[in-house]
Subunit: 212 residues, 2 copies
DNA sequence: TCATAAACTGAAGTATCCTTCAGCTTTGAG
DNA sequence: CTCAAAGCTGAAGGATACTTCAGTTTATGA
């Protein structure tokens, strides 16, 4: 599962090299979790991956590139799970679809919660706003698309605003759940679904109306 | 507005020194926004504050201490605004109270959005989970207290869960708004209020019920 | 006014870290 | 089997950052 987004560096051609790249990305994940971004040194990553520093620099031009590769892998995983549920041809009520997507998302995040947290913080520090915009564009786009599949229920709702609010609200709540170790709380899915559906229901009234 | 949480270092006694400490904290904010945490060097901060490095080390034992001091100032500002609205003796409907608090929160964040973002990312990298827990404990505590003031509307609702979900959902949505520069969108308050109230309404049904 | 404490300076020591590259090892096609 | 390409090694160069502290300047109060 290597990503082809390191333009200036060599691409692995042999199987051994592909394994090396994978090991480096995984090592990055481990070091990031255990020592944080400050402790993410090229030597340490190489060591953990069982190769020498020079090898690292054959495939990654930078510490940042290493982190970005890791992020690409994880994003694909998280997004893939979501997209699968979003595209599930089985017709579903809006509630069902929301719950399924939430479950898929929670499943991915639950696999390595500390990594999710550490990686997010690092990408934030690394690419700041552009990182956020990229992730948000993808995720919100998907959510928006799903919402568009329920035109009757959401008549008059600003789908862009709804996608933004709902997506990031869920993300914030999940982040908090991770930080406090409540990711396994069985009520979580129900609570998040209630949050999303509670917003969507009656969201048509939002646009101009604003009580003082 | 200096904080007394640098145990090992000297406390400023004269007015000049207090001004120096303030200047250092403000310089930290500026450097953090313009160069990120990676670019936050002690020399650069001192330079920007108009003092020498040695002076910095008289009051702050560490780069981290500098950031923590800045965070303390900002947290107090944000929390103060919220608490003021929360404790406002004027009786209000739940909707009004929520809207007022959201407005107060958005006001603080709007002052220096990039700083809010950068500081959050940095604290995340610096103190990770313990930072989140601290902030969440404070904020959720406040929110929980506010919610407890509306026992009829929220009968049967798990206030702890509600405070956590609502608080962090709002935080996530605001974070996204900051990143995309939509903080001034006039519909934002209404949308967030709708999010919060939509969750609270009927949240009593959450505990055990969980549709498959 | 003067002495003492507080505050400030900034060059220098120490510690890492990033990154390269010349040479060695492994792979795989012919 | 042979050899050119791919892959790997790790010591060393170069750069920067953190932190200290001996010495200087400024404030205070007796």
């Amino acid at each position: 599962m290597f990503i082809q987004s390191e333009p200036q560096r060599k691409m692995p051609r042999q199987a051994r090299a592909r394994a090396t790249v994978d090991a480096l990305v995984e090592a990055t994940a481990q070091v990031l979790v255990t020592r944080g971004f400050a402790g993410l040194t090229t030597t340490r990553v190489a060591e953990r991956a069982g190769v020498s520093v020079g090898t690292l620099y054959q495939y990654f031009s930078d510490k940042a590139e290493l982190v970005r590769a890791l992020h690409a892998v994880r994003l694909e995983a998280a997004f893939g799970g979501l997209a699968a549920q979003a595209a599930d041809p089985e017709p579903r009520t809006m509630r069902e679809r929301v719950e399924h997507m939430l479950r898929a998302l929670l499943e991915v995040k639950s696999e390595r919660p500390e990594l999710s947290m550490a990686l997010h913080a690092t990408m934030m520090e690394l690419d700041g706003p552009s990182y956020l915009r990229q992730v948000m564009a993808q995720t919100q786009g998907l959510v928006r698309q799903v919402l568009a599949g329920y035109p009757e229920e959401l008549e008059g709702v600003d789908l862009d605003l709804a996608a933004m609010v709902v997506t990031n609200a869920v993300d914030g709540a999940i982040g908090a759940a991770i930080a406090t170790g409540r990711l396994e709380d069985p009520r979580l899915v129900a609570a998040l679904a209630h949050l999303v559906l509670g917003y969507l229901e009656g969201a048509a009234a939002i646009p101009a109306a604003s009580a003082s």
